[in-house]
Symmetry: C2
Subunit: 147 residues, 2 copies
């Protein structure tokens, strides 16, 4: 291992994340999905139907990318959009039975990746790692943690 750049925590973090991201992306691609799709579906499952703007706020996905991703999910029949009669500016997005099923499949795939990702770590190390990442993420992105 060379000294210098390779021991910068930020570099280690981004390189490890890139590898982890590839693993997850490969699993999702096998199901015809992407990371944004899963994030949106999970938000709908966990927090119920929402406007597109709310989905963007919940998931951290930029509103313009929410539009594109919801278009893809609509095409696949995984979600449905309906205008909100109470506020015609808004669509209300709901997950469909198909989408629910797809999300479950994606969740299973994502869970399997975690085991591979964290294979070299003991249970105690895993817990510590997750706690550290959570702490750092709250530090770096405080507005998300105020939820």
């Amino acid at each position: 291992m060379v000294p210098g750049v390779d021991d910068l925590p930020s570099w280690l973090l981004t390189q490890t994340a890139a590898q982890a991201g590839r693993l997850v992306a490969a699993e999702f691609a096998a199901e015809g999905a992407r990371g944004y799709h899963y994030r949106l579906l999970r938000s709908l499952i966990d927090e119920g139907p929402a406007s597109q703007a709310d989905l963007g706020r919940r998931t951290g996905i930029h509103f313009s990318d929410v539009v594109a991703s919801l278009n893809e999910l609509t095409t696949g029949g995984w979600i449905a959009r309906t205008p909100d009669p109470a506020d015609r500016r808004r669509n209300v997005v709901t997950i469909t039975p198909t989408g629910l099923h797809r999300a479950e499949v994606l969740a299973t795939r994502a869970a399997a990746v975690q085991d591979h990702l964290l294979a070299p770590l003991s249970q105690e190390e895993r817990a510590a790692f997750v706690a550290t990442l959570t702490k750092l993420l709250h530090h770096l992105r405080p507005h998300e943690s105020e939820e």
Copy 2:
């Protein structure tokens, strides 16, 4: 914090890395540089002049992106490319005094980011975190660790 996606280690990892990456990118951008530039300059400093192919192998940057990045570094006068008389397929890339200085500035900037990134952690937690990331990276990218 919502359950589900948000507690997947891979998600925490990629979100934290994205934030860390933005911090580093902002510092480098202020110096007219990018992450690839720094990685290439550091490799030249730490391991000496090299062919483009070797630089790609050392840094993990894809050979086509090495070309593009070296073009930018050449334009800025931070590196020089000369054909290798021993093998005319190759260029030998060397860092210039300007490049050496720029790399030092970038190193200082990058180091400052690490302090911000890891601010919520104690020294012991920082060491553990770096050790864990290193272990995971070796696991996920074994060919790099054989160096």
